[in-house]
Each structure stands twice: as C-alpha cells, then as structure tokens.
Symmetry: C2
Subunit: 243 residues, 2 copies
Amino acid sequence: MDSPHKGHTVRSYDDELNQLDNYISEMGGIAESQLAAALDALAKRNSELAALVIVQDEAIDKIEAKIGEAAVELIARRQPMANDLRQVLASLKIAQILERIGDYAANVAKRSTVLNQLPPVEPARSVPRMGRLVEQMIHEVLDAYSTRNAEAALSVWHRDEGIDGLYDSVFRELLTYMMEDPRNITACTHLLFIAKNIERIGDYTTNVAEIIYFLVKGEPLTETRPKADTTSFAVMTPGAPKG
Amino acid sequence: MDSPHKGHTVRSYDDELNQLDNYISEMGGIAESQLAAALDALAKRNSELAALVIVQDEAIDKIEAKIGEAAVELIARRQPMANDLRQVLASLKIAQILERIGDYAANVAKRSTVLNQLPPVEPARSVPRMGRLVEQMIHEVLDAYSTRNAEAALSVWHRDEGIDGLYDSVFRELLTYMMEDPRNITACTHLLFIAKNIERIGDYTTNVAEIIYFLVKGEPLTETRPKADTTSFAVMTPGAPKG
C-alpha cells in the first residue's frame, strides 16, 4: 500500500508514523459508527442500542490515550523534523477532536433513551436526517486524512454550511412545537440538545478538514469559515408562522 | 522568580519553556475575563459589552496559534526529552481547551444579546451565579498550572460536581418556566444553552486540572470523574412540582 510517509531510511520510523495514522483511522471509524448507532437508536426508539453506544465510548478514549503515548515516544526517540513533527502534532489534535465527537455521539444516545420514555414528537425525524449528513462528513474527512487529499478536505469543510442551515430550521421547528403544546417541551428540549450536538460534530469535522489542509498545503486555510449557529441570535415568539 | 523549569544549562531553553507558560497564562487570563464579561452582559442586559466579548474572541485564537508555533519550534530545535516534552504537549492541549472556553464565552455573549430583545425572565439570575463559580474555577486552575500544584488542581476538579448539581437545578427551573407560559420559551431556550455552555466550561476546567495532575505527579488521576450532565436523562412533565 502507498503510504504518505515514504522516504525515511529507517524502516521502523515509517512504521511508527503509519501506526499513528492507523490509530486515527481506527478511532475515526469507531466515532463514525458510534454516531450512526446513536442516530439509529434515536430514529428507531431503540434504548438497548443507545445503552451500547454509551458503554462503547470508552473504546474511543482508550485509543486517544494510545495515540498520546505513541506520539510522545515517537518524538522522544526519533526527534522528527518540521514536516514529520507537524504530522505527529496533527494526529494528537485530530485524536482530541475524535474523542469529543465520541462524547457527543454518546450524549445523543443518552438523550434518545429519555425520548423513548416520552410520546414521539414529529421533529424526531428531521434530527436523524441532519445527523446522517454529518456522519457522511466524518467518513469523508477521514478518507481525506488517510489519502492526504486537501481538496476532499476542503469539500467537507464547505458542506458544513448546509448543516448549519439544517440546524437552523430544526431549531425553529422545535421551538414552534414547544410553543404549540407544553407537553412537547421536555422531548423537544432533548431534541434541541441532540441537534446542537450534531451541529457541533459538524464543526469539529471542519476543524479536522483544516488540519488536513494545513498538513498537505503547508499553509492554513485562509477562506473565512462559514458562520456556524445563527440560532444563537434567533428570536421567536409564540404564534409566529412556522419556518 | 522561581520557575518550574530550572536546571537546564542552556539559559534560552528555559526561556522558551517559560514563554509557553506565559502564553498559557495570558490566554487563560483573557478566557477568564471573557467569561466574566459575558456573564456581566447577561446579568446587566448589556448588549454593548456582549458585542465586545464577541469581537475579542479572536485574541484568544491568535495566542493559540502562537503557542502552536512556539511549541513546534521548541520541539524541533531543542528536541526535549520525557518531562519537558510532556510539558510542551500539555501546553498545546491546554491552549486547545482555552480556545474552546473562549468560544463558549463568546456564545454566552451572543445569546445574551437575544435575551435583551425579550422581556426579562426570572431564571436569568440563577445562570450568572452558576457562571461566577465556573469563572472562579478557571482562575484557580490557571494558578494551579503556573505553580504546578497538583492538590490545587484536584480541588478544582472536585468542585465541578457542584456545578453539575447547579446546572441540573437550573435546567429543571427553565423547563418549568417554559411549561408555565409559552412566551418564556425563546428566552428560556437561550438560557438553557447558556447554562449548558457554562457547564461545559466547568468540564473543560476539570480537563485542565487532569493535565496538571499528570504533569506534576507523572501518573493520571485515577479517581472516577464525578458524572456530568445528569439532565441528559431528565424527564419532566407539565404540572410536575418545581424542583
């Protein structure tokens, strides 16, 4: 297989750099499948699946710890120069981000167990749809990392704007439901936080894209980041038209 | 002045390690004052102050970038061994956390400008109180970092449980207000997210405490972390007693 770390004369140094990538790949794969399972648990009101997601979060934390140890050992033993060093530090940063993504997926699972104790509400359908798009973004950004493809990373980065737009409409939909009937408030509040978790995962995915871009191009992404979370400024009043 | 990095024969290597600490100290001070200002903006319904907080978030991001560059340069030029290397990597991690804390503070400010467009609601008082306690935790964890005091870090770490308890009661208070009158829903939703932001900042502060503990003691904090966010499991129904 082609590796992005060819060219070092010491074979095991390459192995060590590749090992970091393998960890990221493994960790990212679990984070992605944790989000997928949490969304399934939500969409299908499956509390057993949700419980599984909550338990499995530990697996992600363990790989993050392994990456931390491997990186420290690699730096101390190999004293990597500029490019390799940036590579190692990038893997530490990405590991930290994937750990957060795992936390958010576990929180989606936790909240879906609450929703299963309450009567179903309509917006519970829009939220998993938004989640599937973010799941796809995670998948693509991990591919972009393993192939060191800056254009693919940039394409994921741009798609986050669409997620923010979806989040905005889900936010308004949820507030409308809450205003219509107070019995919807608890369920819709948990859905609000679930939607926000998904939106945050989208943001984190763009952070990974930025790290990849910098690794490949050697310079930061200078485009202005599409502005997240316009709902922080949202004012809605009861009786206003649904939007 | 006493420095935690005494003992290297090359004087400028110490300077470089201290410089990282100085950056953390500067960055942490700004993050703390950003949260303080955001809470003031919320408590006093001061949108001009909130606007200032939003603009100043960039200052934190800039120091994070400086820390990243300084750390890469230090590792490449000095090839630090075990302890110093852990120190450098710790400063990178803490910088990343402080950047997030800054983001959360800016989001509190954004949402407080929305609240100023709506009639005041009662729970807007409990939320800043909770925020002041977290602000104090940031202050103390930064002190613990600059003095490398594991016990002080542990004490901050333990206090987060109290914040989680406060968040829990604020969460229930807000849901009760929403259920009582749909005209409270928009304001209370933004307050819910503000309270959640503050609770997350508390969590991040415990992460910094864990990093300090590890740096000083050379082993991870093995106590089980007080469990955050029990509200992820909260079921409330309209008409239930206020709690």
